[in-house]
């Protein structure tokens, strides 16, 4: 374990409430261990702020092990920070330079209103799921293994899509604030499997409709979403969702 300690110049977005104006505020943090996660470093900042009698910086987190999708910050201009395939909670301070200036902003999208500081309301994503991202037919008890054959490629693709933790980094990184990658992952994970087929049309039509109602942008294939996705969900699923959509609307 390294004993060296690091210090950083933080520029953190502070905003009192949804309607309040916000701005980047400078803070210095010292004695940061390189093994700390980004969120632990922010915890240190908050200890310092609380001691000074100031309001701590609010940010979201839950599992802190990269599986729940609750955390999410734009760090030095990149959603979840500069390391690929990483959530904010699993990003370590050793990936930054000692003394570096680090900008920290919330995920920004019209459909993600800021609650306070770095906390945004991502319930728009939940409403997309509610619009069809589930299987509602009674599938009975668990079938025997191999009773329902699934080709290996389909199983792999469904699993890759199902890796999505719904953090919203794809929206945050997209120049158009589009939720195509999220929605397509949730469409694909079911569309590839036999259990998902009966409701496939209703599902994709409903989810796309809800996605549009929430005010997310359109997809112009920048592919920036895939680059920041902590689970490396591929834009291949976006192409798949489009195809499912044609089938649903025209078929």
């Amino acid at each position: 374990m390294s004993t060296q300690s690091m210090s950083f110049n933080l520029r953190v977005w502070r905003q009192d409430g949804p309607q309040a104006p916000g701005r980047l505020v400078d803070y210095k943090v010292v004695d940061i261990s390189p093994e700390m996660s980004f969120l632990e470093m922010l915890d240190e900042l908050n200890v310092q702020l609380i001691r000074r009698g100031e309001r701590p910086v609010e940010f979201d987190s839950d599992c802190r092990e990269g599986i729940c999708g609750m955390c999410g910050l734009v760090i030095t201009g990149v959603a979840h920070g500069p390391l690929p395939a990483t959530t904010t909670c699993t990003l370590r301070m050793r990936h930054f330079q000692d003394g570096q200036t680090i900008e920290v902003e919330p995920f920004r999208a019209a459909a993600f209103p800021i609650v306070r500081d770095l906390v945004v309301d991502r319930s728009a994503l939940d409403r997309i799921i509610q619009a069809g991202g589930f299987v509602s037919q009674n599938a009975g008890s668990a079938p025997d293994g191999n009773a329902v054959p699934v080709p290996k490629d389909d199983a792999e693709n469904a699993m890759d899509a199902a890796a999505c933790i719904g953090c919203g980094a794809c929206v945050a990184a997209c120049p158009n604030a589009s939720a195509f990658l999220f929605t397509s992952a949730k469409v694909s994970q079911l569309a590839y499997l036999p259990q998902g087929r009966p409701e496939a049309r209703r599902r994709v039509a409903g989810m796309v409709r809800q996605m549009d109602l929430e005010g997310f942008g359109n997809c112009t294939n920048h592919g920036e979403c895939e680059a920041v996705c902590p689970k490396e969900v591929s834009i291949q699923h976006i192409a798949r969702m489009r195809k499912e959509y044609w089938k649903a609307i025209l078929g």
């Binding site: 201009g77 942008g217 112009t220």
Partner: protein
């Protein structure tokens, strides 16, 4: 369900039309370039080609083709720009600091400037059609005889030569053709991604092939004005009556 409305107004539907019209336009641009290469064969070949376009299918090709192009260009620009506006509403407050993540991203300068290059192309298109199709400012004709009567036929070759000997026009063309290359650098692969399920290896290949085709098309269109501009004898043997009308061969 109001199928066709949602097929257009949904984000997914709108993008489909942008891509479909975009691909058709790429096809048109390729044909257009090949046709223009008749310029290298000289005045007679070019005017013959122009005359062919005017008269093919008993004169039916041109109105039909022009209508199709109007729909394609109009539909493409409308769906693309309305999506651009939709996208701008997607994020009201910009990031203070934002940079591309690199890595697996397909984001390029080209992908970020599609609406800008598109708008410039649209503006250029108006000038281009006025100039070369309707001959505004370049009213050269040759007199041809057909069915016993003399009537004027546009001298397209001369129009092109005169235009590209004007440094201003020459500059505008060079600039816009570079932008066309930029537009297509993202546009070509993007249209494939929009129109079909593309597996990751195929997508990566198309991302490169799209760039190659974009460069080739831009180069093709750049070579023409440069060639004309550098011609030793710009005046050339004008008066090239289409051979179909008894012109020299």
């Amino acid at each position: 369900m109001n199928t066709f409305v949602s097929f257009y107004w949904s984000t997914v539907g709108r993008k489909f039309w942008t891509a479909l019209t975009g691909i058709c336009l790429v096809g048109f641009v390729i044909v257009h370039l090949v046709g223009n290469l008749t310029l290298f064969l000289g005045n007679q070949a070019m005017n013959d080609y122009a005359y062919f376009l005017e008269t093919a299918l008993h004169g039916g090709l041109r109105p039909f083709g022009e209508l199709a192009l109007l729909v394609l260009f109009g539909g493409h620009a409308f769906t693309a720009l309305s999506a651009t506006l939709q996208n701008r509403r997607g994020r009201i407050q910009a990031y203070a600091v934002s940079r591309p993540a690199g890595g697996r991203s397909h984001q390029t300068l080209s992908s970020r400037t599609m609406a800008v290059t598109g708008l410039i192309l649209l503006t250029f298109l108006v000038l281009h059609v006025a100039q070369f199709r309707f001959g505004v400012g370049f009213e050269w004709h040759v007199t041809a005889e057909s069915a016993g009567t003399a009537h004027p036929v546009r001298d397209v070759y001369r129009t092109v030569v005169e235009a590209f000997h004007t440094p201003l026009w020459m500059g505008i063309y060079l600039f816009v053709m570079v932008l066309l290359g930029y537009h297509l650098r993202h546009g070509i692969w993007s249209a494939f991604q929009t129109l079909g399920t593309i597996t990751t290896p195929l997508r990566r290949t198309l991302f490169i092939l799209g760039a190659v085709l974009a460069v080739l098309l831009a180069l093709g269109f750049l070579v023409l004005p440069i060639y004309v501009f550098s011609m030793v004898d710009p005046a050339g043997p004008f008066q090239s009556v289409p051979s179909a009308l008894g012109g020299a061969r």
